[in-house]
Structures are given as structure tokens and as C-alpha cells.
């Protein structure tokens, strides 16, 4: 035994005799992970969260979360002698007088954008493949909570420098709080310690941004990963993959190397962006002043769709009995986002209710094989996209020489018409793809080779599919819709009432499919060919 082996053995023995970790470690190191590029999306989220913690900690060493008025004396000359908050001055200091400070600020901001983007794309992957189905509904809800917290966290983060752009964002947030019926002005005064902007909100959102929300997110991410670990990963369909097994590579060594390596790749790419791509150049905006504003005020992209909703809201306000309700703020600012996030969180249960399917699922769906769900996803994305486009209507107007009125009216009409249209089109596309799959299984692949038969007829040679491919295209379930009982045993008509009828209608929509080929059909075709 070499000295190194003796040392390792001694350490392992020390730990195991005190924790009994050997048994658990043995199982853990051989844990199997299925391989697919789309499983890396969640990893990107986790790694950018780690990057955010690291770069954020660095920034706290110099950032001064105070609204105390100071005169700028740093090395950025255009602002020399300008009065500003200590928060803004210290952000300038990080950008110009701390070596690597600007790099870290930019890495932090880029990592936040990547974090949010990867989270949304990861969520889309989970949605369109049905990975949220039983037993993973709880993890879906944790994911929705993380997305919501991420939006708030990002907003508070870019508000900290107290520049003209971010201060405008805070002003809008204040207006939303102030618009809440009955308690709005009280809440606003509590949050801001008095009238807007006051002198305390930077230090308050600082505590929330660096301690409260990251702490909650860290706890939720831990729970999210523990559930993934415990429930084992889902896998894509294919030969040899069943609901009862999981096929992939063991943690040690392949996944350790791949996942560990991938962390460094994500960090490297973020550092590259931070090095070459300027982001949030707060020194251009100047310090916040509620009497001033920059043209083309834009939030970060994950807030953009909310801002877009606010922009397209109709100008409605109710005055009655000496009180005011601002529907133009409440509907786009609180009510619609509230409904959206609630539906998002409960979607797994909504789908269960529609299909009546309460079984466990570990094999992922190909999106085309669940046309209804895929169409619902496309519909929701279209809604958000129209809102996002409207959030940038001023920039689009100036870049493409359109009038803001044109874009606003496009969005106002589009947000009502386009999502249902996206639903119908997506569903049709899915059904067509199913039809194509059916063709492929029954008639094989078109080779493009034309053959002239003895009697002069031309035919194209079709190559039969491999059994693996044929299995992949036909393995999925196709369930009939829930049957609606028209009469119960006593002859009472429609015993389930309106709820039953709605459910039955939804179930029929959810189960609309092109019938997949059966083994018998395939056999008949094959015999016919020979």
C-alpha cells in the first residue's frame, strides 16, 4: 500500500466511523444519470446561481447601500463633483477604481440574465416533455416559485446602483404598490419609509437582495435537487427505456467530469461576456432624480413582458365615493401576472383533471405526441412574447421607423387574437407530425431512389425503418377521452352537471390524436411488401 493510499484510507475510515457514510457514498457514486443535451439546461441555472453568489459576494465588499448624498470624487471625470447617493458613487467606484470590479459587475449582471433565460428554457423543456407529471408536481411548483423569486431578485439587483434608469423602475414599482386598493398608500409609505423616494429603500432592498431572497432560493434549489435525486431523473423514450428503469451513465466518474466540467464552461462563457460585452453602463445614465428620465427606458428582459402588459393596458380608472381604483395599473401589474403564475403552478393538476391520468410517468413525451399540451405551451409563450414586444415598443418604433401607436394597437389586438391562433396552429402541426410518423412506420423512409418497373411504372423505393426507430415512433400511449355519463342509474340526466361536461370536452381536446400504427398493421404492410 502506498503512502497516498494509506492517507486516503485513514481519512475515509475516520469519516465513516463517525458518520457511516460509506454505504450511502457507495450508492451515490454509482447513481445513474440519463444523458441528453436538454438535461443541461437545469445545470446552467444552478451554475449561474453559484456564479451569482460568488460575484455578488465580491461586489458587497465595495458597494455602499446608502442613499446618503455625497459628491463624486472618483476617476470617472464626466460625473466629477456631481451630487449623488453613496450607492451610486460606490457603484462607480467598483466600475472605475476597483481592479476587476467592472468585470465582476458585468459577470454578475450577465449571470443574472443567463440564470433567468436558462430557467425559462429549462421550464419549457420540462413543460413540453411532460416531465412535471406525477410524481414530480411538487418540483414543478418549486420551480415556479424559483422563477417568481428570480424575477423579483433580478429587479431588486439592478435597482441597487440607484441610477436614473433603475430609479425609474423603482418609481413604477412604487406606483403599483400605491395602486393596491384600501392599503396601497400605507404599504408604499411602509416600504419607502415615507414619501417616494425617501432615504431608505436602497438599504432595504439590499438586505432583501443579498440575504432574504437568495436564502430562500438556496433552500428551494436544495429541495429541488434532492427531489430530482430521490425520484431519479426522467428519461427520453427509446428502445430499452421503460417506466421502471433509468438508463444512463454513473455519477463516478463520467457525470462528475461532465457536470463539473460544465460548471467551468458556463463560468468561462459568463466571464467572456463580462469581459467583452458591456452591460448596464450606469455611468451613462447618471444618478437618480425623480424629475428626470432617459429616453427608451427599458427593464431587463424578464421584466419586459410585465412592462409591456402595463403599456398596453386600456386607460381605465374608477372614481367612486371619494376613492380611486386604477384598473390600468392593477390589471396588468397584479391581477394578470397573479392569474398567470397561479395557472402555471397548478398546471400539472389541471392536466391531471383533464386527462384523469393519476399514474407515475418517468418516460418523457415527444411534444407532438401530446398536441393539446404543446399547443397550450405555444399559446402561453405567444401571450408573453406579444407582451414582451410591446415592452420594447419605443425601441422597435425608433429602430424600424414605425409609430408607437401602430405597435401598441398591434399588441392590444394581438394579445387577444394571437395566442388562440398559436394554439390552433400548434395543435394542427403536432397532429400532422403524428401523421408523418404513422406514414414513416407503415411505409418506411423515402430513399429518393426511383426504380422503373418492368411494365414501365416508376416507383420510389421505401426503406423500412429499423425496429428501434419504429419502436420510438410507436411506444407512446394513446388514451381515449374520459367518458361522460349522460344518465345515472336512476335515469337522472347529466348527473355530473356542467363541470362534468366541461371536463369531458377538455378531455376530448386533450386526447385528440392521430391513431398510431399497431403491430398488426405493420406486420400486414411488411407481408404485403414481400
Amino acid at each position: 500500500m502506498s503512502a497516498r493510499e494509506r492517507l486516503a484510507g485513514g481519512t475515509a475510515n475516520f469519516i465513516d466511523e463517525r458518520t457511516g457514510a460509506a454505504k450511502w457514498m457507495k450508492k451515490t457514486l454509482t447513481k445513474v444519470f440519463p444523458d441528453h443535451w436538454s438535461f443541461m439546461l437545469g445545470e446552467i441555472v444552478m451554475y449561474s446561481f453559484v456564479i451569482l453568489l460568488l460575484s455578488g459576494t465580491f461586489l458587497t465588499f465595495w458597494f455602499d447601500p446608502s442613499m446618503k448624498e455625497v459628491e463624486y470624487e472618483g476617476s470617472y471625470e464626466p460625473l466629477s463633483g456631481v451630487k449623488m447617493s453613496a450607492a451610486y458613487a460606490s457603484t462607480l467606484n467598483i466600475s472605475f477604481d476597483v481592479r476587476g470590479g467592472l468585470l465582476m459587475r458585468q459577470i454578475h449582471h450577465w449571470a443574472a440574465l443567463i440564470f433567468m433565460a436558462a430557467m425559462v428554457i429549462h421550464m419549457m423543456r420540462v413543460f413540453f416533455t411532460g416531465a412535471f407529471r406525477k410524481p414530480r408536481e411538487l418540483n414543478w411548483i418549486i420551480g415556479v416559485a424559483l422563477l417568481t423569486l428570480g424575477i423579483v431578485e433580478g429587479f431588486l439587483g439592478y435597482s441597487l446602483p440607484d441610477d436614473l434608469l433603475s430609479g425609474t423602475g423603482i418609481r413604477i414599482a412604487e406606483a403599483i404598490i400605491q395602486a393596491i386598493p384600501v392599503v396601497g398608500s400605507y404599504l408604499a409609505y411602509f416600504v419607502f419609509g415615507g414619501a417616494f423616494p425617501g432615504e431608505v429603500f436602497i438599504q432595504r432592498i439590499y438586505t432583501v437582495h443579498i440575504l432574504l431572497i437568495p436564502g430562500i432560493m438556496l433552500a428551494l434549489i436544495t429541495a429541488h435537487l434532492m427531489l430530482v435525486w430521490y425520484q431519479k431523473h426522467t428519461q427520453y423514450p427509446g428502445p430499452g427505456r421503460t417506466e421502471k428503469n433509468v438508463v444512463g451513465y454513473p455519477l463516478m466518474p463520467v457525470y462528475m467530469a461532465k457536470a463539473g466540467g460544465f460548471f467551468f464552461i458556463v463560468f468561462g462563457v459568463t466571464a467572456f461576456l463580462g469581459a467583452v460585452a458591456s452591460i448596464n453602463p450606469i455611468w451613462i445614465f447618471g444618478p437618480y432624480n425623480p424629475g428626470q428620465i432617459g429616453a427608451g427606458s427599458q427593464p431587463d428582459w424578464y421584466m419586459g413582458w410585465l412592462d409591456g402588459l402595463v403599456r398596453l393596458a386600456p386607460p381605465i380608472e374608477t372614481h367612486a365615493f371619494g376613492y380611486t381604483i386604477s384598473w390600468n395599473i392593477l390589471i396588468p401589474g397584479l391581477i394578470v401576472p397573479g392569474i398567470i403564475f397561479t395557472l402555471l403552478a397548478f398546471y400539472p393538476f389541471i392536466e391531471q383533471w383533464m386527462t384523469g391520468d393519476k399514474r407515475e410517468h418517468h418516460i418523457l413525451d415527444r411534444p407532438r405526441n401530446n398536441p393539446n399540451r404543446t399547443a397550450i405551451g405555444a399559446m402561453s409563450l405567444t401571450f408573453t412574447l406579444v407582451a414582451l414586444i410591446n415592452g420594447g415598443n419605443d425601441l422597435i418604433a425608433t429602430h424600424f421607423d414605425l409609430s408607437i401607436n401602430q405597435i401598441m394597437w398591434f399588441s392590444r389586438i394581438g394579445i387577444i387574437i394571437l395566442p388562440p391562433l398559436a394554439f390552433v396552429i400548434t395543435k394542427r402541426i403536432c397532429l400532422s407530425l403524428q401523421r408523418a410518423d404513422r406514414e414513416l412506420v407503415l411505409h418506411g423512409r423515402e430513399t429518393g431512389r426511383l426504380v422503373m418497373l418492368p411494365h414501365g411504372e416508376f416507383i420510389e423505393v421505401h426503406e423500412p425503418l429499423s425496429p428501434q426507430k419504429a419502436y420510438l415512433l410507436t411506444h407512446h400511449e394513446q388514451n381515449p377521452p374520459l367518458a361522460l355519463t349522460n344518465e345515472d342509474a336512476q335515469g337522472v340526466a347529466n348527473p355530473q352537471g356542467i363541470k362534468g361536461r366541461v371536463r369531458s370536452r377538455m378531455s376530448r381536446a386533450a386526447q385528440e390524436q392521430i391513431t398510431k400504427p399497431t403491430a398488426k398493421e405493420v406486420l400486414e404492410i411488411e407481408e404485403g411488401h414481400h
Partner: protein, 335 residues
């Protein structure tokens, strides 16, 4: 009852099972494996080079060195090479590890088996029995007095943190309805704090003004957030106002609160030809000639108008305070 009918009606194609393992070149050819080993080492060496570049930039590139790059323009070389060094150092560690895993580590797929998440019936029954027994031993059911007082105590203890949050801020009182504008307050330029005569503003001109403060009173951002006023001068005959509103203007000069009636942004964009004021935040558009009537966008109310006139020395002053609250709406707003 609603039920899925048996879905076994459709006969499935049989599962051909896991495809056969195909050996990689590095598995069978020692020369290919050796090559892969060299590639991995080169990637790790590149990472080391990245760290050296990072250290070099930190120490030897002065912080005020600027270079010109094609797309980004003039760039700070210190920050750029620091970042590029760090990016290389990190990225190539990752690439090395992944390349190593893909070429040289085993690529045999392994099968593991799942178990249903649901516990066995007997375990569930045992748990229920344990909980029931525990509750019975604690005597929760038999001692209602304890149960009720405990509920009361737990319910009340949650109140204290809520109460402690009360001092986060003062009560709004009537503050949201008030500004620093009073009858006779002079309009002063922002920035500059100089009083203005009508002749200082040409037709077509715009100026941002604040109320003059008595000597010694400091203007805070809180004041600017409610007092900011936009002064616009057009030809008097272009106004389309009722007699009262017209009397609030002076020789074609009209004054509006600059704080948007929608969400409080500064309504800063004035288009001289159309005489429209546009809020850059949500594009609410106000018609100056019609007392800032909303002609487009989400704002539901015109910008409040400040009645102005001139004092005995010929400087512009407020005739009266705003007759309504400025800024975004709130529940108690009464107008």
C-alpha cells in the same frame, strides 16, 4: 364515474431493447487514446495560460489603458484582458474535463431500476398508528383546555413581528395630496434655482421648474418627486381650453405637473410640432393644447395643471396650489 377505458386495445410494437454498445475509436485504438490524452492536456494547459494572462493583466496593464476593438469600440484593456484571462482559465478546465469524459472515460450505458414513490401499505398503516399513538400520549384530544390555549398563544405570537414592522414608515396622512406649491410661490429653474420672467421662455420653449424655497430650506429628491413642473409656451390662440383653465395660463405659458398621472415617471418628451407630451415609460401621450388630456396610452387622467400668473416684480408665480393630487393614483385620491 369517469374512467379511462382500457388502453391496451392498441397493440404495441415490441421493444427491441437497448441498442448494442459501439466502441469508440479511443476504446480500440491505443494511438487514438493517446491522442485524446494529449488533447485533454492541451486544454488544461490553455487554462493555465489563461490564469497567467489574468495575473499579468492585474499587475502590469495600467487601469487607464484603452484600446480600440472593432465591435465594442474603445475598451478598457485592463478589464478586457483580466476578463479574457479569467474566461480562458475557467472555460478550458471545463472543456478538458468534458473531453476527457467523452473520449477516455467508460461510455457503457448502465441500467438502474426505479421503485414507486408510494410507501408500502403496511408502512403507511404503521405511520398512521404511530402518529395516532403519539397524539393520544400527548393527550391532545383529552385535554381541550391545553389545545385551545396553545392555539391562542400560537395565534397571538405571530402578531408581534407584524407589530414590529409598523415603524417601517410613517402613515401617509394627507401627504400624497400635497406639494410645496402655494399661492404666490415663485417658479424657479431646475437646475439653477433662478426665478423666471415670461420673456425668458420663447414660444415653442419648454422649461423644468420647481417651487422657490425660502432661504436655508434644502430641496430633497422627495420634493422633486412631487413638485416638478413643466412649463411650456405656445401661441395663446392655439389653446383649446375652457375659461377657467385659460385663466390658469399666462401669455401662452402653461404649467403641468411633470410627474406622470399613470405611474409617476417624469413626462419629459415634448413634441413641438404636435404639442404633445409623451411619457417615456409607458408612452402615455398628453395634448398640451387641451390641458394635457390623455390622447394615447395607459394613463387615465390628464397631468394636473398648475395655475400661474406673474407677481408685482414680473416673475412667474403660482396663482394657487395644484387643485388635485399629483403623480400616480392611490385609493384615497378624490378627484
Amino acid at each position: 364515474m369517469m374512467n379511462n377505458e382500457n388502453s391496451g386495445a392498441i397493440e404495441k410494437l415490441s421493444d427491441p431493447g437497448l441498442p448494442e454498445h459501439i466502441h469508440r475509436k479511443t476504446d480500440v485504438d491505443p494511438r487514438a487514446a493517446k491522442k485524446a490524452e494529449r488533447q485533454v492536456s492541451i486544454l488544461f494547459a490553455l487554462s493555465a495560460f489563461g490564469t497567467l494572462l489574468f495575473i499579468y493583466s492585474y499587475i502590469w496593464i495600467p487601469e487607464d489603458t484603452f484600446i480600440f476593438l472593432p465591435i465594442t469600440g474603445t475598451t478598457n484593456a485592463h478589464q478586457l484582458f483580466l476578463g479574457l484571462g479569467l474566461a480562458m482559465a475557467l472555460f478550458f478546465i471545463g472543456m478538458g474535463a468534458v473531453h476527457w469524459a467523452k473520449t477516455l472515460m467508460p461510455d457503457h450505458e448502465v441500467v438502474d431500476y426505479r421503485k414507486e414513490q408510494r410507501s408500502k401499505d403496511e408502512d403507511r398503516a404503521a405511520l398512521v398508528a404511530t402518529v395516532k399513538e403519539g397524539a393520544a400520549n400527548a393527550g391532545l384530544g383529552r385535554r381541550p383546555l391545553i389545545k385551545r390555549t396553545m392555539g391562542l398563544a400560537l395565534g397571538l405570537v405571530g402578531l408581534s413581528p407584524l407589530l414590529l414592522l409598523r415603524d417601517l414608515g410613517p402613515l401617509p396622512e394627507n401627504e400624497l395630496n400635497e406639494t410645496n406649491w402655494k399661492a404666490g410661490t415663485r417658479l424657479v429653474t431646475d437646475p439653477g434655482d433662478r426665478p423666471i420672467r415670461p420673456s425668458d421662455l420663447e414660444v415653442g420653449g419648454v422649461a423644468q421648474v420647481q417651487p422657490a424655497f425660502p432661504q436655508g430650506k434644502v430641496r430633497h429628491l422627495d420634493d422633486i418627486a412631487k413638485d416638478s413642473v413643466l412649463l411650456i409656451r405656445i401661441r395663446p390662440e392655439e389653446f383649446n381650453l375652457d375659461a377657467e383653465r385659460l385663466s390658469w395660463t399666462y401669455q401662452g405659458i402653461i404649467a403641468f405637473s411633470k410627474i406622470c398621472s399613470h405611474m409617476g415617471c417624469a413626462v419629459a418628451l415634448y413634441e413641438q410640432t404636435t404639442k404633445h407630451l409623451l411619457c417615456p415609460c409607458h408612452q402615455s401621450t398628453f395634448d398640451v393644447t387641451r390641458a394635457a388630456k390623455v390622447i394615447f396610452g395607459p394613463a387615465a387622467r390628464p397631468l394636473p395643471q398648475l395655475p400661474i400668473t406673474v407677481d408685482s416684480e414680473g416673475y412667474l408665480v403660482a396663482q394657487a396650489p395644484f387643485n388635485e393630487a399629483v403623480g400616480p393614483s392611490f385609493w384615497e385620491r378624490d378627484s
